[in-house]
């Protein structure tokens, strides 16, 4: 095996074989444990004494405070730009008021708009768009002044001048050159101008939004997605959560495009400049494993409270996958397409905008899907820093144990998530189709017209029929109280109580507490060595070195016990998930139909914002350790089952047929052929499960745990940025240790099996 030979070659050079190193490290760890058992272990090897623990948090805070003012000036600047757009979407979706004007916002609007036109059409159109917006901005500034308010006669007059100019210019370009983007972009800018001028455009009637969503759904994926698109909004309105949902959506519709634009720009930069890529990559992997609380506090400190901070945290959280998908897509563009572009005489900009980006369409759209889903998950979680919306309401309802209402909000969130996911995924796979020759404009843009008609139609209807505009307080169909009764009634049934009670008792007293105590008993030094030897055994030398460094850092922060409890929760939940998930997956993988069903289920469940998983856990077990473990368990079950099924189904049929011909029984075939071949893929799922678990365990802090998450949540109340950061790093580094180790193993294994592409 080539793998083995290269390993030994590398090892020989340093004087140890991997085996010797492994025995050495592991043996040392065992010795340390034995030493503690017979009571001769020096205390500093058991736990690092308080006196020796460096105060990272204080150092961090001191460093930060020196820069604080300059940093916050910069970040506040950005958050004000963001706030402007948030106000506009808030106005459109739930009727908040916008009443300030800052020329800088107009400048950003101009840049983004003309950038979009340049990308979609050409330089001439972009220039015209830019000049129109710039001139209007100059006049607005001249009349209104910085930070001033609109409203006077002269402003109105100006605005209408702008409208006429924009309409004439956009119309001319559409008519003469067939370039439509200026018209659309200027239209959007005009909506901004209207809102700034105090015209009450929002809140948009729910029927308009639902109908438009239905048309978009139908366009992307037929009547099913049409139903899903329209149905989600109808449900939201009828159940009486329209305003909550729109509060959430108003942040989403700003955060997702912002994350998309920033992500794609950084992705292009990383692709163009390999050095930048090298610096960026480790930062991205840390960002992706940082617990979300670590995003939230800086957001609060740097970007004001409320929607702006929420949006900012959401954007930062959603950027990494967009960067990765962008570089991936650009790298994958077929060399022949690139050469065809060069031979067509493309300039650099043409190369990027006309060849690379369109050819990477699929990956970019997958990135869009991920951005949307991460944004939604994060927007819900920003409830913890006081962002109003569905998340905040859900948090409040769960806090007061109103299960019925929680359930309804949960359904809304899930519906939103599934809808956004399905629609954006349908967009990924949607391939362009040609029209018959001589098809009319109406036919070519049928769906565009249909959407406009649906939107405007219901807009008009809602002027007359009030329920079409908004559903009043007493008109909705919420059955919160009744559902509450049913759930609580169900939980009160003796058998249910007995079962959950027993599970609770058994898990807590027989499994979890002994396990936790054992982990806490192990000396720090031995613990680090055990983890290191695990990494060495599974992943090899490099992950082992990182594991050692990472865990040493965790030990040196002084949060050791809480870190161990975090780890214990993660491990026990993942092991339980394995015990439940593997049999299900193996069984399902036997048949085509069941595999499909399970995969569909997992796909859907994976789109749920993590917060949702707390709901059933709290319902069944109340607020305690078991609920925490249970919520992590169902959350991690999804990737475990999914990747196991995919791995088993992905085993090449030649192999299983060969086993059949050799007369293997079903069991033998599974154990000797299918599982070994599926293992690398399963490992990816296992890894994802652990990452999910680390994510969930922090959220579960809300239920009441004693781990890092609890401390993290506490920091949110104050301004303990240093502590927040150190705690976040502890979680991130522990997660990264597993990530590095398991993925390294899967990679080696794939190579050895000749499965890697």
């Amino acid at each position: 095996m080539t793998l083995a030979s290269t390993e030994t070659a590398a090892d020989v050079s340093t004087g140890f074989t991997k085996k010797q190193a492994l025995y050495g490290v592991f043996g040392l760890a065992v010795l340390l444990v034995l030493a503690k058992l017979i009571g001769i272990l020096p205390e500093f090897l058991n736990r690092i004494p308080e006196a020796y623990i460096p105060d990272y948090a204080a150092t961090f805070d001191a460093g930060f405070n020196a820069w604080r003012d300059s940093i916050t000036t910069v970040t506040r600047f950005f958050s004000e730009r963001l706030e402007f757009h948030l106000k506009v979407t808030a106005h459109l979706l739930y009727g908040a008021r916008v009443h300030f004007f800052n020329p800088i916002d107009w400048l950003t609007l101009m840049t983004v708009s003309s950038g979009a036109v340049l990308f979609l059409d050409n330089r001439k159109a972009a220039l015209a768009t830019m000049i129109t917006i710039a001139l209007s901005g100059i006049f607005f500034t001249f009349v209104v002044g910085v930070g001033g308010q609109f409203g006077g006669m002269s402003q109105h007059a100006l605005m209408w001048v702008f409208l006429v100019t924009a309409a004439v210019l956009g119309g001319m370009m559409a008519w003469k050159d067939n370039t439509f983007s200026p018209l659309i972009v200027l239209g959007v800018v005009f909506v901004y101008a209207l809102i700034l001028n105090g015209y009450k455009l929002g809140p948009l009637p729910w029927t308009s939004i639902a109908a438009t969503a239905a048309v978009i759904g139908y366009y992307l994926g037929g009547w099913r997605l049409g139903l899903l698109g329209g149905g989600t909004f109808v449900w939201t309105a009828l159940i009486g959560q329209w305003k909550l949902a729109m509060e959430t959506m108003s942040v989403l519709v700003v955060a997702a495009p912002a994350a998309f634009i920033i992500g794609i720009l950084l992705g292009i930069a990383a692709w163009k400049f390999p050095k930048f890529d090298k610096v960026l990559r480790p930062i991205l992997s840390i960002l992706q494993t940082l617990p979300f609380f670590t995003y939230l506090l800086p957001a609060v400190i740097f970007f004001k409270v409320g929607p702006t901070a929420g949006a900012m945290a959401t954007i930062v959280y959603a950027i990494p996958p967009m960067i990765l998908m962008t570089t991936l897509g650009l790298k994958k563009v077929s060399p022949e397409i690139v050469e065809a572009g060069k031979m067509a005489g493309c300039s650099r900009w043409q190369m990027l905008s006309r060849v690379y980006l369109p050819a990477a369409r699929t990956e970019l759209l997958v990135g869009v899907n991920q951005v949307i889903m991460l944004c939604l998950a994060m927007v819900v979680l920003t409830a913890f820093i006081g962002m109003p919306g569905l998340g905040a309401k859900l948090l409040a309802m769960m806090n007061s144990f109103k299960l019925g209402r929680s359930f309804e909000i949960g359904v809304t969130i899930v519906l939103l998530a599934v809808m956004l996911d399905r629609l954006s995924k349908a967009w990924v796979v949607k391939q362009p189709e040609h029209f018959e020759r001589g098809a009319s404009l109406w036919k070519r843009h049928f769906y565009l017209f249909a959407a406009i008609i649906a939107f405007v139609g219901f807009l008009l209807i809602s002027q007359v029929v009030e329920v079409a505009d908004s559903i009043g307080r007493k008109q909705h169909f919420s059955k919160g109280k009744e559902i509450d009764g049913i759930i609580k009634g169900f939980l009160d049934i003796d058998i249910v109580q007995a079962v959950t009670g027993w599970i609770r008792w058994f898990l807590i007293t027989q499994v979890l507490i002994p396990f936790r105590d054992a982990m806490l008993w192990v000396p720090t030094s031995a613990f680090i060595l055990f983890v290191t030897s695990f990494s060495l055994w599974l992943g090899g030398r490099k992950p082992a070195v990182f594991a050692f460094i990472f865990f040493c850092f965790v030990a040196s922060t002084g949060w050791w016990d809480r870190s161990v409890i975090t780890l214990y929760t993660v491990i026990s939940a993942v092991i339980l998930a394995l015990l439940i998930g593997l049999p299900i997956a193996i069984y399902a993988a036997r048949s085509e139909t069941w595999s499909k069903r399970i995969l569909l289920f997992c796909d859907t469940a994976q789109t749920f914002p993590s917060f949702i998983y707390l709901l059933p856990a709290i319902m069944l077990f109340g607020i305690n350790d078991v609920a925490v473990i249970f919520s992590i368990l169902i959350f991690t079950l999804v990737p475990l089952v999914r990747y196991t099924v995919e791995g088993l189904r992905g085993v090449p049929p030649e192999m299983t047929e060969a086993a059949d011909m050799a007369g293997a029984s079903r069991r033998q075939k599974l154990l000797n052929v299918q599982l070994p071949l599926a293992l690398p893929t399963m490992a990816v799922g296992f890894n994802q499960a652990i990452m999910f678990a680390f994510f969930m365990v922090i959220i579960a802090a809300f239920i009441g745990t004693q781990d890092l998450g609890q401390e993290l949540q506490r920091t949110l109340a104050g301004t303990d940025l240093g502590k927040n950061f150190v705690l976040g790093m502890c979680v991130s580094l522990m997660a990264l240790t597993f990530d590095l180790t398991i993925l390294s193993w899967a990679e080696q294994r794939k190579k050895a099996l000749g499965l890697s592409s």
Binding site: E336, I337, A340, M343, A344, G345, P358, A359, R361, E433
Partner: protein, 359 residues
Amino acid sequence: MTPSDTSGGVFNKASTPMTNIKPVISCKNVWKLFGSSPEKYLAKLPNAHSYDDIRADGYIAGVKDVSVDVHKGEMLVIMGLSGSGKSTLLRCMSRLHDITGGVIEVDGQDIMALPEHELIDLRRNKMGMVFQSFGLLPHRTVLENVAFPLEMRGQGKHDRRERALEVVKLVGLEGREDYFPRELSGGQQQRVGIARSLAIEPDIWFLDEPFSALDPLIRREMQDEFLRLQDLLGKTIIFVTHDFDEALRLADRIAIMKDGAVEQCDTPDKIVLNPATEYVRKFTQEIDTARVVHARTLVKPMPPKAPTGKALRGSATIHELARTIVNDTRKQFPVEDDDGKLIGILDRQEALDILLGSE
């Protein structure tokens, strides 16, 4: 390895000597090495180093000391097994690759010395290229793909639409203008690729195994189509293929490559009659010589006592003349060119030898 005939000479179809006209593309001692710092390596490279020696040093000689000229209106076919450096040589000529050593001149201009905007101009106005797996932009319709090079050089929407329609018609894809590449068969996609490369009316046309990805039947059809286009347009063509039959069918001259170097560069007739190396001979073994060699290749100067009677066409292959050669018992035949002018005599015995393969 110096190619036996690099400066023009006799062509199959147009037999005018062109020695005094400047070549369109001229490669002199061109090197292309792949590796970490090829320039430095090439500077120190000993003369006797072979392909494998270079490889042992961690470099790959994509193109190894190649000198070829391509003349106006000529079709040069680069032939060789996969990995022999055909595509690399082609990409050096269009400067998709920067060469490591030597000089490539296009219309007398050293292309390595061109700044970026002039290179872009050169490609926008003079060069067209067709790729093995088509290299079409998946999100653009047939028409938009064909109009792509025109769009890149800033032509107006109406202009480019008109020109694109014209070329689409030329390659026989009328009625499919609004299709997307995914909706077309392989042969049709390659027609789009051909149309795109012709849209700007290039002087030089590069084709990198354009038909290799197609089924044999369609390949044959596309070759015929290609010959028709070439007759119509008369472009300077560099055509890459790994298929010797295809090369024989299409080429004015063939350059046979091995390990980055050109083994022999000559007309098909001469390659078949006089393979320069053992390697080339292996290719020609399976070939029916009579179907390749033309009567005019074998002509000897008129002797004082000229044979009389009906003359043979010089542009016909020996195979096509087989009936006459076998039945007519004259020792020597007069041979005439397409205009009916006598160009020499053909020895019957020699022709019979080729026909019967008893060499």
